[in-house]
């Protein structure tokens, strides 16, 4: 088990470090992640949603349906925990 894990670590680590080579420098304002869509959000969020906090504007306005689906995830997880951990009634199986 430990041998398999160590080999897996070395392979994955080599792959990731090879990938780091292509990443932009830390904090580069012109990196791809900072220069394609995010300037549009920063410039338009206040005008379109009237929310001063851009993170809130994206979470609740632009991606409102995604957040609604997220509540489904939380609900499902909570129901799963309740159903697994509740006390069984008499006569119920298992």
């Amino acid at each position: 088990m430990k041998v398999v894990a160590t080999i897996l670590i070395i392979l994955t680590g080599a792959l990731l470090i090879y990938g780091v080579e292509d990443m932009p420098d830390w904090g580069d304002p012109n990196s791809p992640a900072n220069s394609h869509v995010s300037p549009k959000y920063i410039q338009e969020a206040l005008e379109k949603t009237a929310t001063p906090n851009i993170v809130t504007a994206v979470l609740a306005d632009y991606r409102g349906y995604d957040t609604m689906g997220e509540t489904t995830v939380i609900f499902t997880a909570g129901m799963a925990c309740i159903l697994m951990l509740r006390k069984k009634r008499k006569g119920e199986g298992d």
Binding site: T12, A33, N34, I42, P52
Partner: protein, 135 residues
Amino acid sequence: MLEYIVSKYNFWAYVILLLIGLYAMVGKKNLVKKLIGMNIFQSAVILFYISIGVKKGGATVPIFLGDAHAAHGHGHALIDVASYINPLPHVLMLTAIVVSIATTGVALAVLILIFRRYKTLELDEIMKIRKDTGV
């Protein structure tokens, strides 16, 4: 070479953190330790995304203060993109944190059920019991 490492040392840190989590998930036999490894793995991914959104050179959190709010009424007050950090990784990782909390909760509930049935959380002991009893 040293300059190359220093300019991207944040990514190296996340690679190390991710490998610690992966090792714990694969190499450890205790199920709780596997779960902790999964959490470390998720933390590494979350930190990686957050660090993608960083802008150096005077950028602050993506919240407009009062003056920007007043200016938006009349005309297009041009907002300087370089003075606010990238908000999108923060939003996505907010979602990822919620999902990670949900998975951790369900996994802990499953671990409680496993412990109730087998009275142990060591994977090799569980597999031995399953082999002996044929369940």
